[in-house]
Symmetry: C2
Subunit: 469 residues, 2 copies
């Protein structure tokens, strides 16, 4: 949707916006991470471990995923520590030894992370990131890493599907009231902008991420005036060059006629009504009726905005039907990724102390060893398939996607600019053949494992099943 | 699930844990709230407005809702302000006048709020809270109020359904990695504890809210040892009186036999294995097999914990089948309220400048006027029906549920202790007849409107439709 203001540079960018004070981020973990760490500590197990973060199964109707939240996960790890109050709390549980608590007091995340850059398209079984470090550090990272990457990836993916469905029509993020908290609202604005939305209604997100802010008016604005036309007039008086009038408070068609009257008054003063908004009812029928009313009045420049219950499926339906809607505001269903509010993203140990490992749990087996994802493109830059190889393997042809992002606990590169991530999504979708982008029943993008991974898996499976008859 | 530590007093309770710095919370709003406020300001409209927050339709299979997030909404309003950097940002948008920006710089939320106490059961159309104040203040509150109350209510409701289904067996919150961000993880732990869960794996939430922390071990712990039995032994050595061993890393039945061996070694040292955990596979068959293996070894005191893909429907299925599972860990599906990740909770103007108002939008009409909810109980304290009355009405019999919680922008009572909210849910569910608590297709709890509300609605509808033929 058209932003209401011109571009504003983000005024500041904090490294992370978790609802967690510096120093207590170490406690944002599952209790078992700490009890396992206590045991590793007591056993003197400080071998290097590698954990891989990946999605086991596509959520319904997804043929690709958009990596998001990686930057927040990395920043969280760089800040990971336990302040004195956190140590006091852990002591009070009565579960930990004094020497382990002193170890935690000085703990910093000293591992390294190779990760997909924010906005990279990826597929099932492919690592979004791999954490390597002392086993305690790599284990403690689990909760915050999954927590941040899983939902932001879901939101970016859902938003990218809306952008596809809208076929070039601008979309604005209206989800702030429906997301699961204020943190999720900020991330939804960011994820949807990366995915190609044009604006957000969330003012704080607009400021933090440098996204154009936008908005129209609420029903309450209309009801606070004795007369709907008076409300329209007051708004147009205030914002003569950027008014979008809400039509459905009482009766959409009557309001459209009223908007025409106001638009003509605006023209007399040398201004133009920007648009009108539909927020309920039959969008196909109403948009046609309203378009006709506007056009009959010579107001072909007034845009029609629709909002309310929209998602990629509804956008596709409206556009297929030829509904004359110019811009969309999406909120509820996209801001919680309503048809897929979670996915099977896991963080699994793949190597310990130089030894590749895997689990065999029914339906949940993992691929052993540290890995790299190699992407193959044809001569036109179109994606033809990915290969999951070992991190020590060279696969050719194929461009390696995971890059070092954190080394000895420090970011090796600054947080990706949001514009770069946005370009990465657009580039990825342009390179991904349409079959994998179908909104329903997409084809399965070819992802194979390298000979090195296949051999390693066979070998470990044999060893393990030999040991566990 | 059994907590791993004894009760610990919360070491501190901040008023709010939004990922928003003090002073910038005013920007956590939709842009249109600010443009409408600018127009009200320019028009000199400073009449008192009342907005009502309520749910229009039940999410699927819900017969009641559990109010949660109200305290966070109230604290957010008490802290609502715009710091200099926020004002600078708004100025840079080019949308607002200099005098309005100066007004915002000094802005404090000066309204009052009547609200349901945290943990109160409520039903569709009933206000969870009503905000009354100068129209700009009451309007600006919209986004943060819906954002906080909607998702926490969904999480508390989903959790309460799990508690029903578990029929007294303890449940622990394992959702931290699946919620939509760290803020949502903290609120999920709180909401689920209010709803009757016994513990959480989320250490920071445990500390902040005084919830017992708990946990077991991850697959990675097992895979970091050469042998599963060695892993079990190391954990038991560290936590001889609170070990729960994870069985499904390689082969659940083989692991159960291995757990028996370790449990016997523990007995020899005067300790007892607390439990074993199933995390994949057919829980009914596996729990029976594992129970038999344990019992045959004389280990009837070892509890069986199940986790992985559980929700109220699955809990009901397992318990109906008589699966010998003693405790549950729930995460993914409950932490995002997977079958209802959003609900139709709205914030609507019901009165402006002494005049009751309503909207008529198709399928989205609102009830006019400030309101109160009156709850009727029979002689045994069983709920028999609610009446939505006007805030100036007295409905008898009926206990008024909304209480003043914020006055002139200040909390009139401190944040509810979490224990009080927990008792309120338990009391509410004990008073609500079973028909309204069915997990599928619950009966519709009787909610009527008072004569005062009905008459007001008729009158305004007539006035409005007369004005809009």
């Amino acid at each position: 949707m058209a932003p209401m203001s011109t571009y504003i540079e983000p005024t500041y960018l904090e490294p992370t916006y978790l609802p967690v004070a510096a120093g207590e981020i170490g406690l944002f973990t599952d209790f078992y991470e700490l009890t396992m760490a206590q045991s590793y500590f007591a056993e003197g197990m400080d071998g290097e471990a590698t954990f891989s973060l990946y999605v086991r199964q596509y959520p319904p109707d997804r043929g690709y995923l958009v990596a998001a939240g990686v930057d927040d996960a990395l920043d969280s790890l760089a800040a990971f520590s336990f302040d004195d109050a956190s140590i006091d709390y852990l002591r009070a549980t009565g579960v930990f030894t004094a020497d382990f608590l002193e170890y935690l007091r000085g703990f910093r995340f000293t591992g390294s992370v190779r990760a997909l850059p924010e906005g990279t398209l990826f597929f099932t079984d492919e690592p979004v990131l791999e954490v390597t470090g002392p086993v305690i550090a790599a284990q403690l990272a689990e909760t915050i890493v999954i927590n941040q990457v899983q939902y932001q990836t879901l939101l970016a993916t859902k938003s990218a599907r809306c952008v596809q469905a809208a076929q070039g029509r601008p979309i604005a993020d209206f989800a702030a009231r429906r997301t699961h908290g204020a943190e999720a609202a900020l991330r939804m604005a960011r994820a949807s902008y990366i995915a190609g939305f044009g604006a957000t209604s969330n003012v704080l997100a607009a400021r933090r991420y440098g996204i154009p802010p936008t908005g129209t008016m609420a029903h309450s604005y209309i009801t606070s005036f004795d007369d709907e036309g008076d409300a329209f007039r007051a708004y147009a008086r205030m914002f003569p060059d950027r008014s979008i009038l809400l039509l459905d408070t009482y009766d959409t068609i009557a309001a459209a006629h009223s908007a025409v009257t106001v638009a003509r008054e605006m023209e007399a003063d040398g201004h133009r009504l920007t648009g009108v908004r539909l927020d309920s009812g039959d969008f196909i029928a109403l948009s046609r009726q309203v378009r006709r009313i506007l056009d009959d009045a010579g107001l072909d420049y007034v845009r029609i905005v629709a909002s309310g219950g929209l998602d990629e499926y509804e956008l596709e339906r409206l556009i297929r039907a030829g509904a004359p809607i110019d811009m969309f505001g999406v909120g509820t269903r996209v801001g919680v990724s309503a048809d897929a509010p979670w996915c099977d993203m896991v963080y699994k140990m793949v190597r310990y102390d130089g030894r590749p490992v895997m689990k065999l749990s029914a339906g949940k087996a993992s691929l052993p060893g540290g890995k790299q994802v190699f992407r193959r493109l044809d001569g036109q830059g179109i994606m033809t398939g990915d290969v999951i190889g070992l991190d020590c393997e060279s696969v050719s042809p194929g461009e390696p996607l995971l890059a070092l992002a954190l080394s000895d606990g420090q970011r090796t590169v600054a947080q990706s600019p949001i514009a770069a991530a946005r370009q990465r999504v657009a580039g990825g979708l342009a390179a991904l053949p349409d079959d994998y982008q179908r909104l329903r029943g997409p084809a399965r993008y070819p992802v194979s494992v390298s000979p090195g991974v296949a051999q390693l898996e066979r070998q470990i499976r044999n060893d393990l099943t030999a040991g566990h008859p």
